[in-house]
Amino acid sequence: MMQKTARLKIVNRFGVTRSLPLGNPVFTIGRKAENDLQLLSDSVSRQHAEIVYEDDAYYLVDIGSKRGTFINGQQIVRCALQHLDLIRIGGDEDQQITFLDDTIERASAIFESSPRLTLTQQADRVTSANEELQKLARFIEVNQAFKFSLTPDDVLCLIVDAAIEITQAERGFLMLRNAAGDLEFKVARDDNRKWLEGADFAMSRSVVEEAFKQSRSVIINDSREVALSFARESVRSLDLRSIACIPLRRFQMSENMDATTILKRDAVGVLYVDSHIIGGTITETSIKLLESLAFEATKSLESVRLMHEEREKKQIEQELGVARQVQVALSPTAFKVPDYFEIAAHNIPSRYVGGDFYDFISLRDNRSAFALGDVSGKGVAAGLLAAMAQGALQAQFTSNMPLAEVVSSLNKVLVQRSDSNRFITLFCATLDPDGHFTYINAGHNLPVLARANGETETLTTKSVLLGAFDFVEYKPRQTRLTPGDVVVMYTDGVTEAVDADSQMFGDERLEKLVRESLSLSAEEIKQRILDEVLNFTAGLPQGDDITLIALKMKQAPPAP
């Protein structure tokens, strides 16, 4: 039995009507360009629905869309289509889609065709103002579609389809310059919105060359009277009647994304449409529309490219953030805590890759080293510098370099690469089993030392932050920790954590908290401070990393 023929009538919000025959066994609908019906609304899934022909009937089937498929307002999963059923795909209200059964349609003789279906009948038509308006509507529609998040390939495809529609050509190509400077086919489409097969296509190379090299539009309306000497040969041999070839020029987006400026007159590619059947139908308006389309195309490509670049950059930042989290989390666990102190640390990275880092390192003779740093600025560069500094500190401490030298040499390296405003504030210390605590504070927040008797002091050497001046010396100070003494080291993310009223957590609150927590273990102290900070900020996103280390000298083991 022959398949019953049917079609979809699609009217967009500008009143432009299209008609698509349901020829295939399966007719696909979705946001992707590969679909038989592409709907450019973000409420339409990439692969949204299908119309299948079975048992002498057409069925509309939702193929797992996010926003559902509807017939006459009723959501369906699979349902047979009746003549004049209204189809809604997701939340797309821009297109009115009607199912038409051709047998009934013919009988009732209310056939409404799209301009394209009557193309051959209109081969010698006079372009009416109405048709130009429809082209304009189509052009505006394309411009709207550019706003949706499409891949560069989607955009290219859309441009070619629109170009074909505007000029009523049979096929269209979009070629872009590759790295070698040659033109490469990116899109090849016919007037049924289908991809043309093949890697190369018979077309007027001379017209393409002219448009690309001279960066100007070339329009040939009736090749039988080609006046352009450069094109005569190939146009005739292909028996082409109408050709339009528009150069795509490069743009630079300015910061506000509104103003665009043409960077160079060089073309980055061409948009090409041609046709065997139409003579003299590429009108002035069509050419202007094509040129605007080419302009919008390159602009959109640029913004899509920027969007993807931005996404990639975010991806890199995320990966680096994960890498840094792993690094921050892992390195101290490789550290074997000696029996004379307890230590606990925690890092909450901010939304961005921040520049906090810390490390504990085992030294000779059961001594230990601690480092806590904060790189100025955020982002990938700060993250990398933090990782670099951490690596350098570890290497130098492991080779038994004295504390002052470790800090000085890191400072010199940072000053030498003073390409930007990058500085590191660092608190760095060593602890001996007998309690000798040697430290350098290079511009870092002052750690709180709370003695077992409740007295507190802050640890400063008034040293300049790292990376500023190569002439400064870093001189350590010493103190002696006795059992029960607690040192809390932190980055400014702790004391500058803000609440809903933009009040800061502050040094005093922290100091008081440490003083009140002396009876707790290092782990409990760290947790208590962290809880207080998180309670204070009440879930508000913080602009900076929060890093906290609590160290507690242990009570001497009872004499045997």
């Binding site: 600025g377 932050l465 400064v472």
Partner: protein, 111 residues
């Protein structure tokens, strides 16, 4: 941020007003200092009395300015930092490098 220039003997006083933070203001400071060095004005006093906030970029601009002036055999000193600015200069250790004064007369005569 605005920078007004005035001189007192061989000393050029830069009256800063506004926040010294990332962006135009820190660039402005660095460019102004560079221009002054080119004009052989090498004894500079940064008046911070009208600067409410400084961030790490602002600190960076001050460090860069200090280094350029020093390399030109000049001197850069600080006048009247706000309480917050002084605290920042203190924590970052810059007070030990950047001479800081609360009184203009003694600042100028110290050069």
């Amino acid at each position: 941020m605005e920078i007004q220039l005035r001189t007192s003997g061989s000393v050029t006083i830069l009256d800063l007003s506004g926040n010294l933070t990332i962006g135009r203001s820190e660039e402005n400071l660095r460019e102004t200092v560079k221009r002054l060095i080119d004009e052989e004005r090498r004894f500079l006093l940064l008046n911070l009395s009208e600067v409410p906030a400084i961030d790490s970029s602002g600190i960076g601009a001050m460090i860069k300015s200090f280094t350029s002036v020093m390399e030109a055999n000049g001197k850069l000193k600080i006048l009247k930092p706000s309480r917050m600015a002084r605290q920042l200069l203190s924590i970052t250790g810059l007070l030990s490098v950047l001479d800081t004064y609360d009184d203009e007369t003694s600042a100028v005569s110290s050069f």
